[in-house]
Amino acid sequence: MKHLYTVTFLLFFSVFCSSCDELTGGDTGASLIDKTSDLIGGLDSVSAGERKYLLNGSVSNGGNSGHYFRLKFKLPEEESLSFYFFSSRSLDSGMKYFFERVNGSVFLTISLNGLEDRTELVEFKEVDTVDVAIDIHNDHTDAHMLVWDYNGARGDYEECSFDGGCLYNTEDFAFDVWIGVGRANGLFWGFEGDKSLIELLEGPKDAISNV
């Protein structure tokens, strides 16, 4: 029993210590980036088709997976950008977030597995730059998506779409819009549109909400 204590302690202590350093990744070979990569919004990217860009970073998927993303971009009148999350390498599946500006107003259309919902992001009316924080919980049964003004409130409770705690919470429409929407299958993220509009991108990181 005495030796068991010692061996167990050493095992656990080594695990504690092994997370303290920051390795370069140079020895893994996995951090090699394609020579055709392009920096967009601070992230490496590669082309995924005409005006489509696959962004660096892949999500954990296959279980209860939650990730955070930040999107900051200019959106002039009559312009639009589409972002894809939990998607394939060709960005033809998963969640699609379609931002467009019409008569000064910014509209967001979220679609997944054939279902979609459109909402106006009134916070960005007549504002040049859209800056949103997004949590996507690709839950076991159905995906749960939240959108916030990056500089605004970060509520994640039910009804936050209506009382200002968030810009959009799919849970608030779970029984009329997103009925049986299911999950997204992919591992990747990217966008489609004019890359010169992108100012800053972050993700996929750990979800900031616990819902």
Binding site: F12, A30, G63, R89, R183
Partner: protein, 357 residues
């Protein structure tokens, strides 16, 4: 006259309540409430600990024989979800040990009998929080669904037990919705063997399988092995070893295969009847995660470790203090860290059904 009627009605009322109390007292109805609250404090800046005292859950259980063949169980639970208390039905089932020899049948809503943690309620777990892989595969509390389960103890000298079950599969694990009709409902099995070392010590090993194909034709398969060994001396558990290893495989409609594997090993040493010291090591690897830009398999792993002290005031009250550290590594970099200290208090009011080994 009015006065007489009032007295008579009052008498009937007293008689009614007395008979009801009498009936409840002598009808083997057992009622219990389990409270589970915890304070968690983030030690590093990236920790997602809430830094506040939360009422994680309270569970009200009622169980009793319905008649000479069937038992009934009702468990309602209230959880803290982002500051709101949400009440939900955990379990509602009837079961019978006497319909078929060596068998137990249950029908209703219940925790699915797979693995080790999955077969017990969260407040009965030997640590406060499940490992990361377990939360990802099964949710924070394990799987609850409605269906039917059959358990059979094999007629052999050694103790073998087989459990098979089918549940609706509309929902799976963590969900905020009512789900949708699956292509193949959730089906599962656990085959286990118990080795009895002495009248107080033993080892239980089980093999589990679970499958489901959801409405989007994601074909999920899980296979796991769980092991629980206890050495007891009198009322004290001198040493507890508990471990689970799970492999998850999900094939989607485009034939893309996702594979993940996770495990934990938990050791607990009894220092006295009231004090025990525990250590857990867990690991989680996504075998199919790819680098977006190179399309190569991403070198990734998540580790977790914890040390804990449990003070057992009595079988009805426990206070558990834990320091836990989880971190993710990908492509040679530490991508996230979460170190947190937690104090958990669990109490049980009333009678509580016997636990599994």
């Amino acid at each position: 006259m009015l006065s007489q009627m009032f007295k008579f009605n009052f008498f009937l009322l007293i008689l009614f309540f007395s008979l009801n109390s009498y009936a409840l007292k002598y009808s083997d109805v057992e009622v219990s409430a389990a409270g589970d609250f915890l304070y968690e404090h983030g030690i590093n800046k990236d920790s997602s600990a809430t830094d506040k005292l939360i009422m994680r859950g309270v569970e009200l259980s009622i169980y009793a024989p319905v008649d000479d063949r069937f038992n009934g169980v009702l468990t309602a639970a209230a959880h803290d979800e982002n500051g709101e208390t949400v009440v939900e039905l955990h379990e509602l089932y009837m079961s019978s040990f006497s319909l078929i020899p060596r068998s137990n049948i249950r029908v209703g809503q219940y925790f699915l009998s797979v693995g080790r943690l999955g077969r017990s309620h969260q407040h009965d777990w030997v640590f406060t929080r499940a490992p990361k892989f377990y939360r990802s595969f099964f949710g924070d509390e394990g799987l609850i669904d409605s269906g039917a389960e059959y358990s059979y103890m094999l007629p052999t000298d050694n103790i073998y037990n087989l459990i098979v079950g089918v549940t609706s599969g509309y929902k799976y694990g963590h969900s905020h919705t009512e789900g949708s009709k699956p292509k193949v409902p959730t089906h599962y099995a656990r085959f286990s063997r118990f080795f009895e070392f002495s009248s107080t010590s033993g080892l239980d090993i089980g093999l589990s399988y679970l499958g489901r194909t959801d409405s989007q034709e994601n074909d999920l398969k899980l296979a796991g092995i769980d092991l629980t060994a206890k050495w007891r001396k009198g009322r004290m558990t001198e040493y507890l070893l508990q471990s689970e290893l799970w492999y998850k495989n999900e094939l989607d409609i485009s034939n893309e295969l996702k594979e993940q594997v996770g495990m934990y090993v938990f050791n607990e040493f009894g220092l006295s009847v009231q004090n025990s010291f525990g250590l857990r090591l867990d690991a989680f690897k996504d075998l199919s995660k790819r680098n977006a830009l190179t399309n190569r398999i991403s070198n990734n792993i998540s580790y977790g470790t914890l040390v804990q002290h449990t003070f057992t005031s009595s079988e009805f009250l426990k206070v558990r203090s834990t320091i836990a550290h989880e971190f993710d590594r990908e492509e040679g970099l530490t991508t996230s860290k979460d170190t947190r200290a937690t104090v958990q208090m669990i109490f049980i009011l009333g009678s509580h059904p016997a636990h599994d080994f």
